[in-house]
């Protein structure tokens, strides 16, 4: 049994709401979910926080935990770290300036786009690629769900991960330092990230390859979206708004960093961008076989359309992408605004400091594939899985509460399920009088819960 809990999870399954429909179980790319007692149950160490289950749940039984918004007021300096996809959530007629104003009104004293971190990161990545070029392909650590996926399913590729902080952490480190240098006390600074996904929350709460985080809390993007949008619908058009620079502050390539090809288009050599977790899995299988190993750089993102498709976004991901691309084009056509240069110069003066802090520790494999730590035991279990598979019908109906016949066979070998959980086996056993229909009903109730079988007596 796995005693150590490796990961923090931002997704929580609310048992009282779950109707045991098994949609989540069927979409989970790491087979982390089982149904027991009519409720979804999560195997913590297998889950990579991709959010597929969250999207699939029809009744909202899966929630993404977040910090209480009022926590921001525990700090004197309240920084909203915003990813550029936030700007892409709103329809055209909402200006960036309005969004920023509402954020101020909500109580944030500073707003800083996390993509500012990419200007230091891009250089660092190129340098890293030069130094580690022989370890092809080097894989970006931008998407924390992908990093975890590699840890649990492709442990042999953890060595290929580029061990540099994501833009978010760099931006947070920079901005905290800047405020301190301007006279603020570190403990008076609260950094809050407006997150598009659960994976980023998990990464903030238990940073991969790092012990601490410069970020004090996370706020879900849909929460902020609703606040901002409500305020706008109620006709706030700026009169109560505080002064914020009404200019774009990011470079075009920075604006696009979190979208598909945002990184790969900036990297030298042969690079590839792949989004959506099942595509990523398919591709990593190939890479692991040594196929096409002469790719220099891989940008992998768990969501379709990358962060525009994050589970906490409210806007349609395709519109979001279009809007951000238009924005970037606009900036490209105009002269770079003055405010931007300020950020540019300031960050430049911190480059040395940021580069010192940009590395992360080795990312460790957390393989969840093994049947047992001990090879001898694992071999016995593998034989058992084979024997069981010979009995199971290979239809992957999921009625046993495991996502596939093979998953059930593994669960049985690991002592977490019984062969009689299979409905085909039940029928077979009933016919041979090894099992009576009452017991077989009990088994189904155990998996799917009493309620599913109504009140009829049998």
């Amino acid at each position: 049994m796995m005693a150590v809990k490796y990961f923090h999870h931002a997704l929580k399954f609310r048992k009282e709401v779950c109707i045991g429909c098994s949609h989540c179980m069927n979409v989970c790319p790491t087979q982390a979910i089982r149904i027991h007692g009519g409720k979804a149950e999560l195997t913590d160490n297998r889950c990579v926080d991709c959010g597929k289950c969250y999207r699939a749940c029809p009744v909202g039984a899966i929630i993404v935990e977040q910090d209480d918004f009022s926590r921001i007021f525990e700090f004197e300096h309240r920084v909203a770290l915003i990813p550029n996809v936030l700007m892409g959530q709103f329809p055209e007629q909402v200006s960036i300036n309005q969004i920023r104003s509402v954020l101020h009104e909500l109580g944030f004293t500073h707003i800083f786009e996390v993509e500012h971190g990419t200007r230091v990161l891009e250089g660092a990545m190129k340098q890293y690629m030069e130094q580690h070029g022989r370890k092809k392909p080097l894989i970006s650590t931008f998407c924390p769900a992908v990093v975890r996926l590699i840890q649990v399913r492709f442990p042999g590729l953890t060595d290929n991960l580029i061990l540099l902080k994501p833009p978010l952490d760099i931006a947070a480190t920079y901005f905290r330092k800047k405020l301190i240098d301007e006279g603020a006390k570190s403990k008076e600074i609260g950094m809050f990230y407006i997150t598009p996904c659960a994976a980023k929350i998990a990464a903030v709460k238990s940073p991969v390859g790092d012990d601490t985080s410069d970020i004090d809390g996370v706020i879900n993007m849909d929460f902020i979206f609703n606040k901002v949008y409500t305020s706008m619908k109620q006709g706030h058009k700026g009169k109560n708004f505080c002064q914020v620079p009404s200019l774009y502050t990011l470079q075009p390539e920075e604006m696009l960093w979190s979208l598909t090809e945002g990184e790969s288009s900036r990297m030298p050599g042969r690079s590839l961008a792949i989004d959506e977790i099942n595509n990523v899995i398919e591709f990593l299988e190939k890479i692991e076989n040594g196929e096409n190993a002469d790719i220099d750089f891989l940008e992998l993102r768990a969501c379709d359309q990358s962060c525009a498709g994050g589970i906490l976004t409210s806007g349609n991901r395709f519109f979001t992408v279009e809007r951000l691309r238009n924005q970037a084009r606009e900036v490209e056509m105009e002269n770079l605004p003055h405010y931007h240069q300020e950020v540019d110069e300031s960050m430049e003066s911190y480059r040395g400091f940021l580069m010192e802090n940009i590395g992360v520790k080795k990312v460790l494999p957390r393989s969840m594939e093994k049947l047992d730590e001990d090879m001898k035991q694992a071999l016995l279990k593998m034989q058992m899985v084979r024997d069981i598979m010979a009995l199971l019908p290979s239809v992957d109906c999921g009625l046993c509460g495991s996502p596939t016949c093979n998953a059930l066979a593994q669960d049985i070998a690991q002592g977490r399920a019984e062969i009689t959980h299979c409905i085909f086996i039940q029928k077979k056993y009933e016919q041979k009088d090894w099992l009576n229909s009452k017991d077989s009903m009990e088994i189904l109730k155990e998996i799917w819960g009493e309620e599913k079988f109504g009140s009829q007596k049998n």
């Binding site: 692991e288 196929e291 093994k370 047992d372 593998m382």
Partner: protein, 137 residues
């Protein structure tokens, strides 16, 4: 434990399937990652070789806690001069196969480099048998 996978000559879209399955087995056994990597690279090369050159083939896998033995047996034209085939850069692959990025003549030497032990025998007009052994401990 014994496993078998069949390979279809000329069907590159399925090339790599057996290697992926074998990789899965080794992961389930908690075999050292470095060994898994070498095994998979060798096995994949060998599998592609069969697809590229033979009409059909079978991969027989035997494994225990000490070693994994992968035997690829194919029906095909065979290799007339094994020593020559073992030289880096030598290839008899057709240009079509080369265009797809396979058959650059890296096959056999690369397999040998990654395998702990490699044995090959071939009969012209009949087929080739390649055996890869990896020590797991």
């Amino acid at each position: 434990m014994h496993f078998e996978y069949s390979i279809e000559g000329g069907n590159f879209s399925r090339a790599g399937y057996a290697s992926s399955e074998i990789k899965k087995l080794l992961k389930q056994l908690n075999v050292d990652m470095g060994i898994i990597k070498r095994t998979v690279v060798a096995c994949y090369e060998a599998e592609v070789n069969v697809v590229a050159h033979a009409y059909s083939g079978t991969i027989y896998v035997d494994l225990n806690t000490d070693l994994i033995r992968i035997r690829l047996q194919d029906e095909g034209p065979g290799i007339p001069d094994i020593d020559q085939a073992m030289q880096e850069g030598f290839s008899t692959a057709s240009s079509k196969v080369r265009e797809m990025g396979f058959g650059a003549g890296m096959g056999l030497p690369n397999i040998k480099k990654n395998a702990d032990k490699m044995e090959i025998s071939s009969e012209v007009g009949k087929g080739t048998t390649l055996e890869i052994t990896m020590f797991l401990q």
